[in-house]
C-alpha cells in the first residue's frame, strides 16, 4: 500500500478545482497553474525514482484488496509515461498565456487542462479495466471542454465530429468490457491475465481482444480509423492542439500495449500479425496525408498518424527489442509532437497564416524559431543522433530479427517521406528571399513562445544523445512487459 501512486492524479485534480474557483483572476490563475505544474513535475519525478529503485507501487484504493477493489499500479512503464506527460504539461502551461486570448483563459482553460492531465495520468496508472474506461472519460470530458474553448464556427463543427466518434468508441468500450466480464468474471487486469489462460475456448477471447483493439485503435488513430483525427486536432488553440497531439493518441497506444502484452497474448499469430499489416497501412496513409496539404498545422497533425504506425509495428512484432523500441518511440513521440505543435503555433502566429504558399523568408526575422523547427524535423524523421533514430533503430532491428521485411521497408520509406513533408515546411516557410516582416510587433511574443519549446526540444535531444543512459530502463520495461507473470504477482501478491 502506498499513496504515492495516486499523487500524479490527485495533484492536478486539486489544482484544476482550485483554479476553477478563481477563474476570472487570470494573472493569479496563470502563476498558480505554472507553480503547481512544476511542483507536480518534481513530485512525479520523485515517485518515478522511487519506482525505479524499489519496484512497482501498488495502491489499493479505499483499502479494498486487489481483485475486488480498484487498484492503481505505478510500475515503471506507467511512471515513465506519466513523467513524460508532466514534462509536456509544464511546457504547455508556460506557452499558454502567449497564445490564448483573455476570454479563453478566463473560461476555465486551466481547469480543463489540469483535468486532462489528471485523466491521462490516471489512464496510465490504473490497474483495472473498467477504471481505465473511467479515466478515458475523464480525459475526454476535459478534451471536449478544451476543443470548443473559444467558440469558433470551425471549432464547433470539428468538435461535433470529435465528440461523436469518441462517444461511439466509449460505448463500444463499455460493451466490450461487459463481454470480457461475462467470460472471465473480473475487471482487474492482473486477474484477467490469470483467467484468460484458464478459459477453454480461446476463440471468444481473440474476438474480445480484437474488439478492444478496435476501441483503442479509434482513440489512437490506426489505419482505417484515423479519418477523424487531423482536422479536430488543428481547429482549437495551438496549446490545446499540442496537448491533444502529444497525449491523447498515446493513451490509445499505451492501452493497446498494456492489454496486448498482459491479457490478449494467447493468439499472437492472428492478432499481432494483423497489427503489423495495419501498422504498415497507417504509416503509408498518414504520410500521404501529410504530403497532400499546404496547411502547416494539418501537416503536423497528419504526422501523428505514421508515428502511431511505428509504435503499433513494435507491438505487432512482439519481441523484447521491438517492444523496447515502441516504448522509446512513445516517449520520444510525446515530447516531439508537443514541441512541434507549439512550434507550428508560433510559426502561424508570426506568419499570420497557416498556408505554406503564402509564407517565406521567415528565418531572417525569426532565426531561433527557424532552426528549432529544423532540428525538430530531424528529430521527428529519426536522423541520428536524435531520439527518433534510437526508437526507429530498435523497431527495425526487432523487425529484421523476426524476418518481417515488408514492414521494415515500409517504415524506412515512410520515415523518408516524413522528413520530406517536414523539410517542405522549412524550405517554403523559413527559407527564401528576405521579405518584409509581416508582423514586426509580434517578435517579442514569439520569443516568449520559443523557450517552452526549447525545453521540450532539449529533452528530446537528451533522449537521443543520452540513449546509453536511458536504454537500460527502457529495456527493463520491455522485459517486464514480455513477462506478464511479474505484473500479476506484484498485483495479486501470490
Amino acid at each position: 500500500m502506498s499513496n504515492l501512486a495516486a499523487l500524479p492524479i490527485i495533484l492536478p485534480l486539486l489544482a484544476g478545482i482550485v483554479v476553477a474557483f478563481i477563474h476570472k483572476k487570470t494573472k493569479i490563475v496563470r502563476i498558480l497553474s505554472q507553480v503547481i505544474s512544476v511542483v507536480n513535475l518534481i513530485a512525479v519525478a520523485w515517485v518515478f525514482l522511487q519506482v525505479q529503485q524499489n519496484g512497482s507501487i501498488i495502491l489499493e484504493t479505499g483499502g479494498w484488496a486487489a481483485p475486488y477493489g480498484i487498484i492503481l499500479v505505478g510500475d515503471l512503464l506507467s511512471m515513465t509515461l506519466v513523467l513524460t506527460t508532466n514534462i509536456i504539461a509544464v511546457a504547455c502551461v508556460f506557452f499558454a498565456p502567449q497564445s490564448l486570448s483573455k476570454h479563453q483563459e478566463e473560461y476555465y482553460f486551466y481547469s480543463f487542462f489540469f483535468l486532462l492531465v489528471a485523466g491521462v495520468s490516471g489512464a496510465f496508472l490504473t490497474g483495472d479495466l473498467f477504471n481505465l474506461f473511467v479515466f478515458f472519460e475523464v480525459l475526454l470530458m476535459a478534451s471536449y471542454g478544451l476543443i470548443v474553448l473559444g467558440n469558433g464556427k470551425v471549432q464547433l463543427r470539428e468538435s461535433i465530429k470529435y465528440v461523436l466518434i469518441n462517444l461511439f468508441s466509449s460505448m463500444l468500450f463499455v460493451t466490450t468490457i461487459a463481454f470480457l466480464y461475462s467470460v472471465v468474471g473480473t475487471v482487474n487486469m492482473a486477474q484477467i491475465a490469470v483467467r484468460v489462460q484458464e478459459v477453454e475456448q480461446q476463440g471468444i477471447l481473440t474476438t474480445i481482444g480484437i474488439l478492444f483493439f478496435f476501441v483503442f485503435a479509434t482513440k489512437a488513430a490506426v489505419f482505417p480509423l484515423y479519418y477523424w483525427l487531423p482536422r479536430p486536432y488543428i481547429s482549437p488553440n495551438p496549446v490545446v492542439s499540442a496537448l491533444f497531439g502529444a497525449l491523447l493518441t498515446k493513451v490509445g497506444i499505451y492501452s493497446i500495449l498494456r492489454t496486448f502484452t498482459l491479457m490478449f497474448n494467447q493468439d499472437v499469430q492472428l492478432t499481432h500479425t494483423l497489427f503489423i499489416y495495419l501498422a504498415a497501412l497507417t504509416m503509408l496513409f498518414g504520410v500521404i496525408g501529410a504530403l497532400s496539404t499546404h496547411n502547416v498545422k494539418l501537416i503536423i497533425a497528419y504526422n501523428i498518424i505514421p508515428a502511431v504506425g511505428f509504435m503499433l509495428m513494435g507491438i505487432g512484432i512482439f519481441s523484447e527489442v521491438s517492444i523496447s523500441g515502441t516504448i522509446y518511440y512513445l516517449v520520444h513521440d510525446m515530447i516531439i509532437k508537443g514541441a512541434l505543435f507549439l512550434l507550428v503555433g508560433a510559426l502561424v502566429y508570426v506568419a499570420g497564416t497557416s498556408d505554406l504558399r503564402k509564407m517565406g523568408g521567415l528565418i531572417h526575422h525569426h532565426p531561433v524559431l527557424g532552426w528549432m523547427f529544423f532540428m525538430a524535423s530531424l528529430v521527428l524523421a529519426g536522423i541520428p543522433p536524435f531520439s527518433g533514430f534510437i526508437g526507429k533503430l530498435l523497431l527495425l532491428r526487432g523487425g529484421l530479427a523476426q524476418d518481417e521485411l515488408m514492414i521494415v521497408i515500409v517504415a524506412l520509406i515512410s520515415s523518408l517521406l516524413i522528413l520530406f513533408s517536414m523539410i517542405r515546411i522549412f524550405i517554403r516557410g523559413f527559407w527564401g528571399e528576405k521579405t518584409e516582416n509581416p508582423y514586426p510587433e509580434r517578435k517579442r511574443k514569439a520569443a516568449k513562445m520559443a523557450w517552452p519549446v526549447a525545453i521540450l526540444l532539449s529533452f528530446s535531444v537528451l533522449l537521443g544523445v543520452g540513449a546509453e543512459w536511458f536504454y537500460p530502463t527502457i529495456q527493463s520495461i520491455a522485459e517486464y512487459l514480455m513477462d506478464p507473470q511479474i505484473y500479476i504477482d506484484s498485483v495479486l501478491k501470490e
Binding site: N3, A6, I10, L14, I17, A20, L59, G62, G63, S111
Partner: protein, 145 residues
C-alpha cells in the same frame, strides 16, 4: 407581457417541490448502505429546482435562490477530493472510509460515516452541473429574442 394562467402548475409545484426536496434529502442520507446516494439525491434536488424555475420564472427564482450554480461544481468537487485525501493524514490508502456511532441529541444513536462527506461532494457537484446545463440552455433562447 401577457400574464399566463398557471395557477394549477404553481399550486401543485409548491406541494410537489416540497416532497421532492424532502425525498431527495432522504435519498442522500440513505446513501452508502441503502439504495440512494449523492448522485440520485442531487438529481432529484435539481429536478425540484427546475420545476420551481418552470412555475415561477427565472427572475423570482434568482431572488429566492441567489446561488451561482457554476460555483457549486468546484465546491462539490473539492469536498469529494478532500475526503479522499483525508485518508493520507491517517496513513490509510487513498479514498479509505470509516464510520462510528454517536449519541446525537434528537436522533439518538446515529451512524456517522466519512462516506457521507464524499456523497455531499457528489451531491453538490451533480446539482451544480445539472442546473448549469439546464439554465444555460434555457437562457440561450431568451437572449435571441
Amino acid at each position: 407581457m401577457t400574464r399566463t394562467n398557471d395557477i394549477i402548475l404553481r399550486t401543485t409545484t409548491t406541494l410537489i417541490a416540497f416532497i421532492l426536496l424532502g425525498f431527495s434529502i432522504y435519498l442522500f442520507f440513505a446513501g452508502h448502505n441503502k439504495p440512494g446516494g449523492g448522485f440520485i439525491g442531487g438529481l432529484m434536488t435539481s429536478a425540484a429546482f427546475v420545476l420551481m424555475y418552470m412555475a415561477y420564472g427565472f427572475r423570482s427564482l434568482q431572488k429566492i435562490l441567489p446561488i451561482n450554480f457554476r460555483f457549486v461544481i468546484p465546491v462539490g468537487l473539492i469536498i469529494a477530493v478532500a475526503t479522499g485525501i483525508g485518508s493520507f493524514i491517517f496513513g490509510e490508502p487513498f479514498l479509505s472510509q470509516t464510520f462510528a456511532y454517536f449519541q446525537l441529541p434528537v436522533l439518538g444513536k446515529t451512524e456517522l460515516a466519512t462516506a457521507l462527506l464524499f456523497d455531499l461532494g457528489v451531491y453538490l457537484t451533480v446539482i451544480g452541473v445539472t442546473m448549469t446545463i439546464i439554465l444555460t440552455i434555457a437562457n440561450d433562447r431568451g437572449e435571441e429574442r
